[in-house]
């Protein structure tokens, strides 16, 4: 069975041929088996756990566990707009002051009140952790009453709410933190939907329902539905898929694209796929020849046959990426994605014209570094073949991911193919990748005019104004082509057909509290 959780339908091959497609809103608000309480599921995960300390730099699997155990002040729903979390409401009294109202009477699973004092304590720990720099603009956090606090910033901090929704801004039980010392990462305690029962990092994480959690479904039923969730480490993809078929596990944390088609044909298994906010893309080194010439970069972008790669490499699970704003984003312009600069099909005439403009009618040669993951290796080979059409000779240099990241971080490459998970708010995308001083701007792209639009977009007051400004910025980005976008990968999860209610938001987060399980 194939289930689609987002408003988007999948353009890929195969998907249409496979059985019923369930609309997203139905899944979101009315779980198919009217909110079965109780039961447990086993989730198969592909790697061992590291630390579950939210304030450390931790891996993706680790923070997926964290978001099920710890609350954040702000959350975001499927529409990717900030929504109440532990904080019931907030107001911005002036540009530098935010006042938050907390949900009353929330307690951590160890009995410690989750009040304004606990929030202030959590902020102290956040600002001692690896992500302190994300909150450097916070001047103070002041307790007004047990359910009210105020954040003062040194300068305007328009993306505060987005940052507060990240796992590194989790709220914790001060008593538990003090008691655990260095061990908090092995036994994190807060007020989230589940509480942690045990963690064997190389084999199993078990969590059980927090009966006092504040979350409710659309009908007012208490969340989560499940009594317990076990995350079992199954490092081999093939075995994990087999374990799902035999019923040893109920849910596959990530289904490799290569296994997706066979799973979609299995009536005992539901495959959930949603486009992510991320990209598979190539960095250009914008300060070194040949890519210091914008026309050369544009020529590469224009020559890529994205649809062909989507069909061949991702088995129809991914969609062509036509610009940095992906279809899942509130800033996406469905009528004119990416400012219309590139399409799903290549425009070889335009690409040749750009090459001619750069004085390289006969093409040129460059080396593309890529990680040796099967999907990216196949993509690199496809790009090599496609670019050869306009005389660009690509030498491929496949490397282990650790070595690729070394090259990337040192800006030591000419072209570098990689993927990225994406961010739910465009401020964190544009500011990081395209601002001249951005943290992920490894190709050293610089456009002062673009920087101004990016800053304006981050501070604009309404979401509509911000969306318009990001679309303007996106068009400028495409003209400058600091990256060559290829595909928007999908988040693909597989589950046994008696597991329902999982909402796939495409943000690579597994929220176990909406999942139900019916016996059968």
């Amino acid at each position: 069975m194939f289930e689609l959780d987002r408003r988007l339908f999948l353009k890929g091959a195969g998907a249409a041929a496979v059985t019923p497609i369930i609309g997203s809103l139905a899944t979101l608000h009315h779980p198919a088996h009217a909110a079965t309480q109780g039961g447990s599921i086993v989730i198969g995960v592909p790697e061992s756990f590291g630390s579950l300390d939210p304030f450390r730099r931790i891996g993706r699997l680790d923070y997926n566990a964290v978001i099920n155990i710890l609350d954040t002040l702000v959350t975001y729903g499927a529409d990717s707009i900030p929504a109440p979390g532990l904080a019931e409401s907030w107001e911005r009294s002036d540009d530098l002051t935010w006042r938050f109202q907390l949900r009353p009477d929330v307690v951590s699973t160890d009995g410690t009140p989750m009040d304004a004092e606990a929030v202030k304590f959590s902020f102290d720990k956040i600002r001692e952790g690896n992500f302190a720099s994300q909150f450097a603009r916070i001047e103070s956090v002041d307790v007004i009453s047990p359910t009210e606090f105020e954040i003062k910033t040194t300068e305007s901090f328009p993306t505060l709410l987005v940052e507060l929704a990240q796992q590194y801004a989790s709220m914790i039980s001060p008593a538990a933190f003090e008691a655990a010392g260095d061990g908090f990462g092995r036994m994190p305690i807060g007020s989230g939907p589940f509480k942690i029962d045990s963690l064997e990092p190389n084999s199993e994480l078990v969590m059980s329902r927090n009966e006092n959690w504040w979350g409710r479904d659309a009908d007012g039923n208490a969340l989560p539905y499940l009594d317990s969730v076990t995350w079992r480490v199954l490092p081999d993809n093939e075995t994990a898929a087999l374990a799902l078929q035999t019923g040893e596990i109920d849910f596959l944390y990530s289904l490799p694209t290569a296994l997706a088609p066979s799973m979609m044909g299995n009536s005992d298994i539901t495959v959930s796929s949603a486009p992510t906010y991320g990209w598979q893309y190539m960095f250009f080194h914008c300060e070194q020849p040949p890519f210091d010439n914008v026309h050369v970069r544009r020529a590469v972008q224009l020559a890529i046959d994205r649809q062909a790669i989507a069909d061949a490499v991702s088995f129809g699970t991914a969609i062509p990426c036509l610009g940095p704003i992906t279809p899942s984003s509130w800033a996406y312009d469905a009528d004119n994605p990416g400012g219309g600069f590139v399409g799903s099909a290549p425009d070889l005439d335009a690409a040749r014209a750009e090459l001619a403009e750069a004085g390289m009618e006969d093409g040129f040669a460059f080396t593309m570094i890529h990680p040796t993951f099967p999907e990216l290796s196949a993509m690199a080979q496809a790009l090599q073949a496609q670019l050869a059409e306009i005389g660009i000779e690509v030498t491929l240099e496949g490397k282990e991911i650790g070595a690729v990241l070394d090259n990337l971080f040192a800006s030591d490459f000419t072209g570098l193919l990689i993927d990225w998970s994406g961010r739910i708010d465009e401020a964190l995308v544009f500011g990081s990748f395209f601002r001249s001083d951005g943290g992920n701007n490894f190709g050293k792209f610089a456009d002062p005019a673009l920087d101004e639009v990016i800053d304006k977009a981050a501070t604009a007051p309404t979401i509509e104004e911000r969306a318009a400004l990001y679309q303007e910025a996106e068009a400028m980005v495409m003209q400058g082509s600091p990256l060559a976008w290829v595909l928007v990968p999908s988040e693909i999860k597989a589950m046994s057909s008696n597991v329902t209610g999982f909402v796939n938001q495409g943000d690579l987060r597994l929220r176990a509290w909406t999942i139900t399980r019916s016996e059968s």
């Binding site: 790697e47 061992s48 756990f49 590291g50 630390s51 300390d53 450390r56 730099r57 931790i58 891996g59 993706r60 952790g129 690896n130 992500f131 302190a132 720099s133 994300q134 450097a136 260095d182 990462g185 092995r186 064997e200 990092p201 190389n202 084999s203 079992r232 480490v233 199954l234 490092p235 081999d236 093939e238 075995t239 994990a240 087999l242 374990a243 078929q245 035999t246 040893e248 490397k399 282990e400 991911i401 650790g402 070595a403 990241l405 070394d406 990337l408 971080f409 990689i418 993927d419 990225w420 998970s421 990081s432 943290g439 992920n440 490894f442």
Partner: protein, 329 residues
């Protein structure tokens, strides 16, 4: 007599002392090599952790400092060796968990799997090897040799997947993968260990059958066998009492090497069957460049090898009186 006895003990003690010095030299050399090699290999633990999710420089630097990676390599090496001298193997960069605890948790499944596989391998290879040797050149021999070649040359993951398809997916007799500690539920533990142990056991048997067959064939051609036969000793006694006993020496040597391979963590088998053993611990943390964990795990493996070698040496003395006498005189 008492002079000879005390001489014997002095020899034993001296041998043990030599072993300890050797052990220390091996361990320090391994420690130094693994430390240097890990840092020569490209890849940065901080970057790999979380990948491209956040490459904000301030976050990276903060994490690097927390992990102690902002110190110079020499400084890190000296701190690490110094701490090890007082029994502290350091902490995982990724999780902060003590390395000794991670290794301690990974050892039982690996040892259990290794021993089970070894028992299966030996139990299969002695009768098969002897049978092949006694019927050398016949169809039985060809069949057994073919089994042995298949065992040696088939990659463990193919054997593993074939066994999973048969026993877990098709017959639904055993679980596909996973691990349950023995003290938690012995039966479930054995059900989960059966397929991985069989996988490794078949590979091991493949190697050992060949050794057993070859050695027994050699021994059966020796003069003493002819003598025994001419004295009218029963054939089964000739084979098992004389030939197999003498064939045991090369067999034990190879079995010891195989035991080292098995007990140091079968990376692929442990990965396929999701067994949280030493092999998995190593490969996971090599991928993550979690230096202290890999260093600790490699040292643990080196230590196991040294122990097994010592054990095999001791076994020689039991099996072959000539070695015992040579040592004592």
């Amino acid at each position: 007599m008492s002079a000879r006895l005390s001489h014997f003990f002095v020899t034993i003690v001296r041998a043990a002392g030599n072993r300890l010095v050797e052990l220390a030299i091996v361990m320090v050399s391994v420690a130094t090599m693994v430390f240097v090699l890990l840092r020569v290999v490209p890849g940065d633990p901080v970057l790999i952790l979380g990948g491209l999710d956040t490459l904000d420089r301030a976050v990276i630097e903060s994490a690097r400092e927390q992990m102690g990676l902002d110190r110079s390599m020499l400084e890190q090496y000296v701190i690490w060796l110094g701490n090890m001298a007082i029994g502290d193997f350091g902490q995982s960069l990724r999780s902060g968990a003590p390395v000794s605890q991670l290794i301690g948790n990974a050892l039982p499944p690996t040892l259990q799997l290794g021993i089970m596989a070894l028992v299966i391998g030996i139990a299969l290879s002695i009768p098969l090897g002897v049978a092949a040797a006694r019927r050398a050149g016949t169809a039985t021999d060809a069949g057994i040799t073919t089994f042995s070649i298949i065992g040696i040359s088939t990659p463990p993951f193919v054997i593993a997947l074939a066994l999973i398809y048969l026993f877990a997916v098709h017959l639904r007799l055993l679980p596909v993968a996973g691990y349950v500690p023995f003290d938690e539920d012995p039966l479930e533990n054995l059900r989960h260990m059966a397929l991985p142990a069989l996988t490794l056991g078949l590979v091991t048997a493949g190697v050992l059958v060949r050794i057993m067959r070859r050695s027994v064939i050699d021994e059966l051609g020796e003069d003493y066998v002819r003598t025994a036969r001419s004295k009218g000793v029963a054939e089964s006694r000739v084979v098992y009492g004389h030939a197999v006993r003498n064939a045991a020496l090369p067999f034990v040597t190879i079995a010891g090497i195989e035991a080292g391979v098995l007990l140091s963590g079968a990376i692929i088998t442990e990965t396929i069957f999701a067994i949280p053993g030493l092999g998995r611990l190593m490969i996971d943390n090599i991928n993550q460049r979690d230096y202290p964990v890999v260093q600790g795990a490699v040292l643990a493996v080196a230590f196991i090898y040294v122990l097994i070698n010592a054990f095999v040496d001791a076994l020689y003395r039991v099996l072959d009186p000539r070695i015992r006498t040579r040592l004592a005189s």
